[in-house]
Amino acid sequence: MIIFFISLNYNGYLRNDAVLKFPLNNYPYYRNLMELKLVISEKDENTLLYLDLRNNMLGFFSVMNSSTEYFFSESIKRAFIRLFKREYTLTIGKQYINLGLPVLFNPFEIDKSIVFTDFYYTKEGIFGFSSEVMVNPESGFKFFLKPEYFIKNSDAGFDLYTNISSFDIGLVVIRDKTNISGGIYLKGDLIIGINTSNRIYYNKLDKSYNFESLSGFDYSFFEGKLFFGTSFYYNKNENYFGLKSNKYLYNFITYNQNEFLNYSFNTITNFDDLSTLFISSITYNIFEKTTASVLSIIPSGYGEFSYDKFGEFLIILRIERRF
């Protein structure tokens, strides 16, 4: 038994976020979030066991009333077994189910949750079953099922993907308790990198048809050191995922000076009122396996992301030690 536990692979990180918040209607306050991520895995020729655990300690420190509060929490983000043979892969348990392209606003994301400002955001795994069948080295078929007690409330879908003329192309169909969706995505190069994901979905409750789209491009200079991209998101449905607008513009610029120092600057603009969130970070490798980052979120404009509506701006000092 002891030998079994020794033979497992352990990795993860210990991260501390020191957060200074400047709320609109209150005094600045400080909070501290420490997170331990522990991934335990074991793999052989046909099986992968994977466990992704989190342990958090959140502390609030108020200078005004000299109070200190601590909260502890534990969670299992993923716990699955993956079985694989030459032609197929089966995954059972709590897992990330990814269809479409891994980008912000991905129209095909299952259990989509868009929180623009959550630096701590970690996707929550989904209990279910997924499978991937190989057609050829670049083509395949993904299928997932997220079962519920009542079958009609279960989610299911597939992603049929291939690569044609250097473009990754996929056809996705998803059925969930509210919508039936179908759409396509592609990512490839026409000198610049381009990507687009488009989905038509039928709402079974109000019997309406809607359309969701994300299109963007990216390019880099100085041999990939300076990398920028822009994406435009549109959803015909104006009340979707709690978003306050149905049109957003997302821009990013990253400058990787080297493996030890990089800068990133992102903007998210509500395209209706043109208010913008400015999100920036500088990450420095202090020593091997340990980085320090300074992150900031600054609201601006007169709409959704204005200071008086957004409510605060914040600065975070993050220290992360990977193991």
């Binding site: 992968l48 990330y96 190989m134 041999e223 990787n256 080297n258 493996e259 030890f260």
Partner: protein, 232 residues
């Protein structure tokens, strides 16, 4: 007494170099050390390669990058991130970026053409290093769209393996220098166990690649080079 002197042409030397460095399959276990301004990052990976179809597969096994995988098929590259359990295609314009922040660009890895296909060669005067004579070859690209327009190779006369490679832009600026050490015989093929790459556009920067295990022309199954294998 009749003495015959045989001297190889530059193209013949280049062919012998290609014979050393072009293989049908490769399996390697390597340590990559990235050094900048006195700081160091160490990464370990397992590499599989197959000439047929220009394919390779890399899996990082050091703890902080464990499970990050690269798949190359032809001139396309995908990366798998275990934190997201998802695969991302690398845009073509990003291929000149250093892999995992190293001085080895994705294009350096993607390049599997023989030198003779890409370059014309010219044999220069021999050079002497530590009392030993070496060939000096200068290569010029046949086409414009190559990563390095000119190369200067200092080649061991017995093993036909470069011990030093200098890489130039079209304007003549040297941008990278590669030192190849511990050249060993692998069943008739001379290959370095240690490669040190200096990107001269970066100050105090070098990446060294050390092969801990190296096997050529062994059976590597086609299943390795699939997108599905990235998630396994």
């Amino acid at each position: 007494m009749l003495i015959l002197f045989f001297s190889l042409t530059s193209d013949e030397i280049l062919k012998k170099i290609d014979d050393n460095f072009v293989f049908n399959t490769i399996k390697a276990n390597a340590t990559m050390t990235i050094e900048r301004d006195g700081k160091k990052l160490v990464k370990e990976f397992i590499l599989f390669g197959k000439k047929d179809g220009n394919r390779f597969f890399i899996e990082f096994i050091n703890s902080e990058d464990r499970g990050v995988k690269y798949l190359k098929i032809g001139n396309e590259l995908w990366i798998y991130f275990p934190d997201a359990d998802d695969i991302m295609k690398i845009s073509g314009h990003m291929l000149r970026q250093g892999m995992m922040g190293s001085d080895i660009s994705y294009e350096d890895i993607l390049s599997d053409e023989e030198l003779r296909q890409k370059y014309t060669s010219e044999l220069k005067n021999d050079t002497i290093i530590d009392d030993k004579e070496y060939f000096v070859l200068e290569l010029t690209a046949k086409k414009e769209d190559v990563s390095y327009y000119k190369e200067r190779l200092i080649v061991d006369k017995n093993m036909y393996a470069p011990v030093e490679i200098e890489l130039f832009t079209k304007s003549g600026r040297m941008i990278k220098k590669i030192i190849q050490e511990r050249i060993k015989n692998f069943d008739g093929r001379y290959f370095p166990e240690r490669i040190i790459i200096f990107d001269l556009r970066r100050k105090n920067s070098k990446t060294s690649l050390e092969y801990n295990e190296l096997k050529f022309d062994i059976l590597v199954k086609d299943d390795v080079f699939t997108k599905q294998n990235l998630k396994r």
